[in-house]
Amino acid sequence: MARRTSIGVWVIHLLLWIGVVVVAFPFVWMILSSFKSLPEFYQFHFWPAQWDLSAYRQVFTETQYGRWYFNSIVVAVVVTASELFFASLVGYTLAKFRFRGNQLIFILILSTMMVPTELLVIPWYVMSAQFGWVDTYWGIMFPGLMEAFGVFLMRQFMFGVPDDLLDAARIDGMSEFRIFLQVALPQVKPALSALGILSFLGNWNAYLWPVIVVSTESMRTLPIGIGMFSTADNGGLQWNVIMAMSTLAVIPIIILYFIFQKRIVEGIALTGVKS
């Protein structure tokens, strides 16, 4: 009996390892390919003939890659900070205050979750053209500054904050805003980190809206920069440069992911289960 289970477990490990190879291989291939010279892409080569750094040099001399990186960081950080702040503020207010219109406001916000981004990008574009927001940071960022999902999630967690704690702070004479910031927020840290991770990844990888609102090369975010460079017809695909760009975009995220993997994985599972 014991022997049979152990064989079963070995078979499972074997299958899981085959899966690991399939799942991880594209990343390995991306890195290997970024070190090849362009002619090597016309025949099959597994290893680079020699480790060639010219693709990386091209990334920084022939494109505005550094700028795209900067843009991506600015957009992802600002939008995430805004979303965290407003989602928790609104979630807190809806969960902890009794006032006329509470339900109505909640339903109003929740109803926006049903509307897909695709329906909104056209009005947003018309709006941006009208107000001069096209090709600006504000234009890229404004749609994401608040999200109904975040409000919903934070409201769920704010219900769990004990009222006694808030009342005690009120008796101490704290202002309502400081109670929110210094008493309520620390109670929902796991939810904040989960939402923050989701929001950051979502904005870091966002494509549909930025590709519409950005028109000059210097305002592109990383995904738009990589996508536009790669699809531009400049005499065939420059595979080594495309792979170098992808590697530089993906590797920092993978490193961060391995460092914080427990928190990231559990955070995403948490938000999935909660909703």
Binding site: Y92, P116, P223
Partner: protein, 311 residues
């Protein structure tokens, strides 16, 4: 707000002006906290939604409300292709990524070592940039020098055209989507499996149920909410497929969605109509159809979930 009522003058008493009740003051705080967010949601989400609906009933020639956009859509072969392809993406990717995710979650649940490692690796594609991984897959799919054909060659399977073959391209795109999303399904299934009380499984074992019977009659029914959640989120995101198709099939002389419209999805169609042909009203009409599809899925979800809780 209470209307102001003038009270008859009383004998002057040295009192502070009447203070708001505690409840009123707290309500005022709440409104102060909510005013900016409510303006945002109305201005950036709700009014634009209504605007998009409104736009879909107008055309460039200045005619009043008309169904012309919807009629043109139904008459357009590319739109029908986009709708059909989008449904194919749903039908191919959602069951596949859920099945793989469930098998992975069950297998990882059975081993004692390396659990965290497996979970981390399988989830990795889900968090990486769709654009970057699409280009890597495009390189791997390359018919002449791609590694996929090379590996098939080891097993004497003839080289395929993949993304360049109208009959294979949609499947090739779907494989990338499945590869990227199965880790999410796995993660949610793992959480769902962990939520099943151990005593249920032990009770089944005591009653003499085998592994399959336990799964079929205990685990599977208890996973129902997880299944519904994954099915709905999976269907909704498959209906919105865009970035993979743009990057796997776009450029190099061809519009995204090729070859021969074999991979075009509804959102790619919207993008081409709105931002390549600049027919924003027509594009809005297509997004209205997409919205209705998503709404339908959401309503079905509510119905299924309610039924699940009945017993």
């Amino acid at each position: 707000m209470q209307p102001v009522v003038l009270e008859p003058r009383r004998a002057p008493v040295t009192k502070r002006p009447p203070r708001m009740s505690l409840a009123a003051r707290r309500a005022l705080t709440a409104y102060a906290f909510l005013v900016v967010p409510v303006l945002f949601f109305v201005g950036i989400r709700i009014l634009p939604t209504l605007y998009a609906f409104g736009m879909s009933f107008f055309t460039d020639d200045g005619q009043g409300p008309t169904l012309a956009n919807f009629r043109a859509m139904l008459a357009d072969d590319t739109f029908r292709r986009a709708l059909g392809n989008t449904l194919l993406y749903v039908v191919i990717t959602v069951p596949a990524q859920m099945a793989i995710g469930l098998v992975l979650a069950l297998m990882i649940g059975r081993v004692r070592h390396l659990k965290g490692f497996y979970r981390t690796v399988y989830f990795l594609p889900y968090i990486t940039s769709v654009v970057a991984v699409s280009w890597v897959w495009r390189l791997m799919y390359d018919p002449n020098s791609g590694i996929i054909n090379e590996v098939l060659g080891w097993f004497h399977i003839p080289a395929q055209l993949w993304l360049r073959d109208p009959h294979e391209a949609l499947l090739a795109v779907s494989i990338v989507m499945i590869w990227q999303n199965m880790g999410f399904a796995m993660l949610i299934f793992m959480a769902g499996l962990e939520a099943i009380p151990r005593s249920f499984l032990e009770a089944a074992r005591v009653d003499g149920a085998g592994a399959w019977q336990t799964f079929r009659w205990v685990t599977w029914p208890l996973l129902n909410p997880t299944l519904v959640f994954l099915a709905v989120t999976g269907v909704i995101s498959a209906l919105q497929t865009f970035t993979q198709i743009e990057n796997l099939t776009g450029g190099s002389g061809g519009q995204a969605g090729g070859p021969l419209n074999s991979t075009v999805s509804m959102v790619v169609y919207v993008y081409n109509a709105g931002f390549n042909d600049f027919n924003l009203q027509y594009a809005s009409a297509v997004t209205v159809v997409l919205f209705l599809l998503i709404l339908l899925v959401t309503l079905v979800q509510l119905k299924v979930l309610n039924r699940a809780y009945e017993y």
